[in-house]
């Protein structure tokens, strides 16, 4: 992948390296822009703020703001900061004759590739209209025969523990007091069944990662370093972190592994199953270089596989190498993309010794992925979660592992449905970035994020205040938690574990029978 020329979807690609320029002879071709940028000269006070705010350098000053619409990412930064509301960004009304097969996006992609000869790049999650199964699942509620519980008046528990659990607890009865026999396995305690998804320093800015880490600490949940190492500024928050060990091994050393609360082996990512991460050299600043332990300005290419894992027994070796390195004091998580055979793979991972499985569905976000990979590989998290949970139960090993489900969790209702399908917790990636002001313009791979989220340009990263950002994340997670409590109460249970895996409380609407069976969910209309 990494050796071929990459090009950005729908917009001019700045030349990234001489090598690429040599390969790709650019042959311009007509392509209408995605957006039209308009300024109302009557309102405009000529403050030039829009020129400064645009991270994509789409706006220039020629006795007034002038935009190159073809460069506009539609991130709305300029519009948000225009004091006079003079700016309007709208879809380009330039009319292409519709065609059901050769849709506009196919034509645009094709033109771009004809022009550049590159691999299409994309960011954030899959944007094709595949069915969203969450929207075909409904939760149960109590009426009459079992009372609903009011979360404002009764205790309502969301506390969740991640990690391997033994089959049974051995209790001896000492002088009227129960006493635990033996040592429990290490567990991560979450105050609410959510974690922040892995987003590396490098793909996101330091203030972004700091906001996430601060929020995780305040909320009593976990954040994840991603594969970019642990920046010195984030050390104080590392006791709430998964430290990731991915195929590039960026920033991995004994101190790093022991700094985290848990270690995560990244095998795959929902947005790009089967390929490794790619951080362009432009984003490898001095600080990123130090944290990742790679030369500044060099592309950070993670190999597609982990080069010491070519089979399940190799994974077992790495799991135990990491456990040895951390004195068996930290749970080891294995993150995989949801692919067709995910159930059997997950079973192997449990038997290889993992304590947590992080399942990332095909709608999961990314800072950069080839468009075709992002949009056409993998399976939905709803399905993957259902089959993994069932497979582990069939084998009687579900208790040996906790499952984190991620890849398109949009609301507390999605989270509740995921938990009912069998997840122990859900991962919030895209949702967290949205809370920080991301508008989902999907141009993270350019490193020019105007909101200071997915960029390393100091002029842009300083736009995000980690403290204010963390407050927004805290608000979001608290709001979702409050909603989860409302949902639990309406369902008549007062602990999250009574919803976990309780598919009896889910019903399917508008799903074919096979899908409903795979999800283990009855159709709406069937009672108890």
């Amino acid at each position: 992948m990494s050796s071929s020329t990459r090009t950005e979807e729908h917009r001019e690609a700045p030349a990234r390296s001489a090598a690429r320029q040599r390969r790709a002879a650019r042959v311009p071709i007509y392509r209408p822009s995605d957006f039209l940028w308009e300024n109302d000269p009557e309102r405009c006070k000529r403050c030039k703020r829009c020129v400064q705010q645009c991270g994509f350098q789409a706006i220039s000053w020629e006795d007034g703001p002038v935009a190159d619409s073809s460069k506009c990412a539609g991130c709305h930064r300029c519009e948000a900061f225009c004091p006079e509301q003079a700016i309007t960004i709208r879809p380009n009304p330039q009319y292409l004759r519709p065609h059901p097969l050769w849709t506009e996006s196919h034509r645009r992609n094709l033109w771009l590739q004809a022009e550049t000869g590159g691999v299409l790049l994309a960011a954030m999650g899959n944007d094709l209209p595949y069915p969203v199964l969450w929207d075909h699942l409904l939760l149960d509620a109590c009426q009459v025969t079992n009372p609903s519980i009011d979360p404002l008046r009764e205790p309502m528990e969301l506390r969740t523990h991640l990690g391997r659990k033994p089959d049974r607890v051995e209790i001896s009865w000492q002088e009227g007091e129960p006493e635990l026999t033996g040592e429990p396995y290490p567990a991560l305690e979450l105050e609410t069944p959510m974690v922040f998804a892995a987003m590396s320093y490098g793909s996101i800015s330091l203030p972004t990662q700091k906001a996430i880490a601060m929020a995780a600490e305040e909320l009593g949940i976990m954040w994840n370093t991603g594969e970019g190492g642990l920046h010195a500024d984030l050390r104080p928050y590392s006791h709430r972190a998964f430290v990731q060990c991915a195929s590039g091994r960026f920033g991995v050393h004994a101190g790093y592994l022991n700094a985290g609360a848990a270690v995560e082996i990244k095998i795959g990512q929902g947005a790009k199953p089967g390929i490794g991460g790619h951080l362009p050299g432009e984003k490898v600043s001095a600080e990123v270089s130090e944290t990742r332990m790679i030369p500044a300005g060099s592309d950070a290419l993670s190999p597609a596989p982990q080069h010491d894992i070519y089979s399940i027994e190799d994974l077992r070796q790495l799991i135990y190498a990491l456990k040895e390195a951390t004195s068996y004091e930290k749970p080891v998580s294995v993150k995989i993309a949801a692919v067709h055979n995910v159930a059997a793979i997950a079973s192997g991972i449990v038997r290889a010794g993992a304590d947590i499985i992080y399942l990332d569905g095909f709608r999961g976000g990314t800072g950069a992925a080839p468009t075709m990979i992002r949009d056409h590989l993998g399976i939905p998290i709803e399905i993957a979660l259902a089959v993994v949970d069932q497979q582990l139960r069939d084998e009687g090993i579900r208790n040996q592992v906790s499952i984190i489900a991620a890849g398109g969790i949009r609301s507390s209702a999605d989270a509740a449905k995921a938990i009912a399908l069998g997840a122990d917790a859900v991962g919030l990636g895209t949702a967290a970035l949205l809370a920080l002001g991301c508008t989902l313009c999907q141009r993270c791979y350019t490193g020019r994020c105007s909101w200071g989220i997915t960029t390393q340009d100091p002029a842009l990263t300083r736009r995000l205040d980690p403290y204010l950002g963390s407050q927004r994340l805290i608000n979001l997670v608290r709001a979702w938690s409050a909603e989860l409590k409302e949902i639990l109460g309406a369902m008549g249970v007062n602990a999250i574990e009574s919803l976990r895996g309780s598919r009896e409380r889910l019903r399917a609407v508008g799903l074919d029978r096979t899908t409903a069976d795979i999800l283990g969910v009855k159709p709406a209309g069937i009672g108890a």
């Binding site: 506390r159 523990h161 049974r168 607890v169 008549g492 249970v493 976990r500 309780s502």
Partner: protein, 387 residues
């Protein structure tokens, strides 16, 4: 009694009636007292199911598993008896004695067998006798259509049917049995069909459970039990109670008090207040047995050989009252239900949410009895309405 507001609001609509009595010295009485209690609780049932379990009724077969079976077809009976013949030495079999009763209609064939697992069958399966019996019971209930094992313990038996509990007591001639523990149930089924095998008590080996409530966590409790080989076949949520008790107490060897704290787990905020050793144990219990937490409104009475236990859900959404007189322990949905068995108890109390009342044969200490100075209830007085 100290019942929550939920409880009062809910009673009219979904009120099963429960009662239990136990002699702590093993003195045996016939079934008339428990019948009287359930007759008084008539309005808590709707005639769609009732039943009883009695301990100490088969002293002459005390070391045999007493299998009570319902057959809806002769084919089912033939198949099941062939299975029994293959795997067990059947020491005695007979029709369960019944009498004509106009309110008990369409009974299945009711048989009982006193059996011992065959040595060869045990060797082939590599199972202990109890585990072997359990698997066979599960097998018949799940795989043989129209045959249901509704009792499989030693020196105990369950008797249940569709009808009102007092009619069922007469139908089964319970006044002819002598037992030191009687538990009974009148059913008001809402979510699941009223059918003979679906009536309470639910039993498995020595366990018998009667239940008032609806298990809102049924879905996950069932899936959790399936991991351990239990198959829920009775189309009702109560059977998970019996299986959970079997798993926690017989197979995982948890003390009964601790098993109760798994099913009606203390809240985290209360675990945090516990002394360190206890906190460690309870943290592990909640982590490991998260899927065994029985959530939703329930009051249950369960029994096994030598033990009778009453338990409420963790916020007491269903009524349960306990009382003692001399060496007798009584449990019922209502105080009136107790006074129908024992007009003048020494003292009556409403057990707190999630706090078990445990009577043990040969011990005059009843766990959870607040009148008992030497064994105060667990941290019951520390916190207000809930545990």
């Amino acid at each position: 009694m100290r019942a929550s507001s939920f409880d009062r609001g809910n009673r009219m609509i979904s009120g099963c009636g429960l009662s239990g009595l136990m002699s702590l010295t093993g003195e045996r009485v016939d079934g008339r007292a428990i019948r009287a209690s359930l007759a008084l609780l008539h309005d808590r049932a709707n005639g769609l199911g009732g039943g009883f379990a009695a301990y100490g009724i088969y002293p002459e077969w005390a070391d045999k598993h007493a299998l009570h079976l319902m057959y809806y077809t002769t084919d089912a009976q033939q198949k099941t008896e062939a299975l029994l013949e293959r795997d067990f030495e059947v020491d005695h079999d007979e029709r369960i004695p019944t009498r004509y009763h106009p309110n008990v209609v369409d009974p299945p064939a009711l048989m009982r067998y006193f059996v011992t697992p065959r040595h060869s069958a045990l060797m082939n399966s590599q199972l202990q006798p109890d585990e072997f019996v359990l698997r066979q019971v599960m097998h018949v209930n799940a795989e043989v259509p129209d045959a249901y094992v509704f009792s499989s313990g030693r020196n105990m038996g369950a008797f249940k049917a569709v009808g009102y509990a007092e009619d069922i007591a007469d139908f089964y001639r319970l006044e002819e049995y002598q037992a030191y523990i009687w538990i009974g149930h009148g059913r008001f089924p809402t979510n699941t069909p009223g059918w003979w095998a679906g009536a309470h008590p639910f039993t498995l080996l020595d366990w018998a459970v009667v239940h008032n409530g609806e298990i809102s966590s049924y879905g996950i409790n069932k899936r959790y039990l399936e991991m351990f080989g239990y198959q829920c076949t009775m189309r009702t949520d109560t059977e998970v109670m019996a299986y959970l008790l079997d798993l926690l107490i017989r197979r995982h060897e948890l003390p009964v008090e601790v098993a109760c704290d798994v099913m009606a787990a203390p809240f985290w905020e209360h675990i945090e207040l516990m002394p360190e050793r206890r906190q460690r144990a309870y943290t592990a219990l909640r982590q490991v047995y998260a899927s065994a937490l029985v959530n939703g409104p329930f009051a249950i009475i369960f029994a096994r050989q030598g033990e009778m236990v009453g338990l409420n859900d963790r916020i007491k959404l269903r009524p349960l009252v306990a009382a003692r007189r001399d060496t007798w322990l009584y449990l019922s949905s209502e105080e009136a239900g107790i006074r129908a068995m024992c007009p003048e108890p020494d003292h009556v109390w409403a057990p707190r949410a999630g706090q078990p009342v445990i009577g043990r044969l040969g011990s005059d200490v009843v766990v959870g009895d607040p009148w008992q100075q030497e064994a105060p209830p667990r941290e019951a007085t520390a916190v207000g309405g809930t545990k």
